[in-house]
């Protein structure tokens, strides 16, 4: 095939311009601002500003609350990713085995994805409310005293369930697509060789789904780091005693509620670095290594 060469050097830039402008104005410029701000110590109104080098970063590293938030984020991310992906995989495999009505189930299972995070948070807030919720009432009958207002374990469980529920749909869609791309002949061949359903899943289906699984892992972790803000804000508000304060929530609390811009900016920069590293792992390592 003959390669097309464009003589015009300006046209490609013109065509890219809208996207570049959006990226510059809404992503790069604020990111640069955040980096600059993270080196400043400033009052809320910007009346007194001093350049403090890495003071904000050093303060964070010595801040027990920040370290705790890092740990909380790790626990939260891994739990949400594991729970939502596990459920989604189970559902996808079940739907994949259906002969009839698979599209109907697929449609129904995708619905939660259309629910805004805050709404999802409020739904779960109602269900788990210690005073008026249905689940604490049922749990009480089996002898479990549910109180996420005070028990950090209960609170963490609540936000993990709410965040995972929201993400199951997305994972489900990818798993269904992944399953459909596995040739039926492979599984049939295994069946003829005498492999049962469990063995077929473990040795054929699951390994062949690996690229999808790794992709979803990265997407899910990114999701838990950014998009779960609404869920946390609507259910626990980061409590009790910061037990569900993840990094993004701490950025909000320190920046928007406490108006400590320098520290908040430094936290944004660290979070940005974490996500860049995760994305690089995805592109560099996983995309190349997990291939069949």
């Amino acid at each position: 095939m003959k390669r097309t060469i464009f003589g015009n050097q300006v046209l490609p830039w013109l065509l890219l311009a809208p996207q570049l402008v959006v990226t510059l104005v809404f992503f790069l410029w604020p990111a640069a601002q955040a980096i600059w701000q993270s080196f400043l110590r400033e009052d809320a109104f910007g009346l007194n500003t001093s350049f403090v080098w890495f003071l904000n970063y050093r303060a964070l590293l010595n801040d027990g609350d920040y370290m705790a938030a890092l740990g909380t984020t790790a626990i939260f991310s891994v739990s949400v990713a594991a729970l939502s992906m596990g459920l989604a995989l189970g559902l996808a495999v079940s739907v994949d085995r259906l002969v009839k009505r698979a599209p109907l189930y697929t449609t129904l299972l995708v619905w939660p994805y259309a629910v805004a995070p805050v709404i999802a948070g409020i739904l779960w807030w109602f269900i788990f409310n210690p005073t008026i919720g249905i689940l604490p009432y049922l749990l009480d009958r089996v002898g479990y005293d549910w109180n996420h207002r005070l028990q950090s374990g209960d609170a963490m469980m609540l936000v993990v369930i709410a965040a995972a529920w929201k993400q199951v749909s997305y994972n489900f869609l990818f798993f269904v697509a992944g399953l459909q791309s596995i040739p039926a002949s492979l599984r049939e061949a295994a069946a003829i060789d005498g492999a049962g359903p469990v063995k077929r899943f473990a040795t054929i289906t699951f390994p062949l789904l690996a690229p999808t699984t790794f992709f979803l892992m990265v997407v899910n972790v990114t999701y838990t780091m950014f998009d779960t803000f609404g869920i946390i804000d609507a259910t626990t508000g980061g409590g009790p005693n910061q037990a569900t304060t993840i990094l993004i929530y701490k950025i909000y609390a320190d920046g928007f509620l406490a108006l400590n811009l320098g520290s908040s900016a430094a936290q944004s920069v660290i979070l940005m670095a974490i996500v860049i590293v995760l994305t690089m792992i995805q592109f560099r390592y996983i995309e190349k290594k997990v291939a069949y």
Binding site: F45, G46, T131, R149, L150, P240, N260, S264
Partner: protein, 443 residues
Amino acid sequence: MFPTPRTSVLSLAVLTATGLAQSASAQTEIQWWHAMGGELGTKLEEIVAGYNASQSDYVVVPTYKGTYPETMTAAIAAFRAGEQPAVVQVFEVGTGTMMAAEGAVYPVYQLMADMQADFDPAAFLPSVVGYYTDTDGNMLSMPFNSSTPIMYYNKDVFEAAGLDRETPPATWEELESFSRQIVESGAAPCGLTTAWISWIQTENLSAWHNQPIGTLENGFGGLGTELSLNGPLQVKHWDNLARWQDEGLFQYGGPTGGDDAPPKFYAQECAIYMNSSAGRAGVVANATDFEVGYGMLPYYEGTDGAPQNSIIGGATLWVMAGRDEAEYPGVADFFSYLSSAEVQADWHQFTGYLPITQAAYDLTREQGFYDENPGTEISIQQITLNEPTPNSKGLRFGSYVQIRSLIDEEFEAVLAGDKDAQTALDDLVARGNTLLREFEAAN
């Protein structure tokens, strides 16, 4: 966090919209950003409409900007972008931040003097404006909606438990024994619940017992202040609340405003409930199946100087610097209108917020409002019970929004049994002081 294009677009839209409406006249516009939603917002707009109709030189344009923190953050972001409103409503815990912003705010006493407006500082209730004055007694912002916590109780449950339905507990000791009697008699499953652990069970508890919560007159004396709310009284009270929770006498209503507390009282689960005097309308509307009684906050027997006086919460109006010179006479004129007895009495009676002037208080009494609406006067009696001391004038700390959440966090740690009250309050003081030093360094 940064001056976003959205704020300027929004104010532009507001300007255009109002500009179109007023295009024919040469009136000066005064932007007022506020945080009053729902019925309070409607009432506020009514007051503004009354002012706009009363004169023809100025038009006040109220804009609802969301919750208190959202409104304050929006105003600060707008200031950084040079788009600040002339007047912004800021909640009491933002006072320290606003005060420290010299050059960004135009102190009210100075504005009124510069504009030679009709303004008599002595006409205001000292326990209301005291919260917002500097150490020389100058008013820095204009109180708008101030309230103070009071006690509500369920008269029917009291009677069912064999208590006198007309006698609320006056002391914490009584409150404990009443609660025990209520729970043991099966009249209700719980004795006490409360909104605002920070504002009511810590700050007001301290003021009511004439105990400090910080050095340098609770922070009024300067940015070098340190928290000191780990005294024996606060420790005893937090320990008691935790013990009462374990014994089933007390139920926690959640952090900040304690959203779970009102339903516990309305559903007759808890018989005694503490919340802002401005919550009275909500109580009256929801307590349909039982009769509500009102009382002052309880105090601990044998505490020197208790009961002293309670302190206020709510919000005030701050004037922001850097607007067109022509607007400030209008702001001063509007503030004179706002503090007039008629406007204040109307606002006070409608919302349950405190009247800010003696004249509005007297007018309301003359109108017979307190006789017709039992419980409405308790808030004023409580804040004027004694001349405020340095411990009961109020508080003024930087980063106080954050310190308030620390109070909730440490209290939750006590209730969960992770810490005893002494450890929690010591930790609270240490964490709070770190924030105060940071604030001092940044200002």
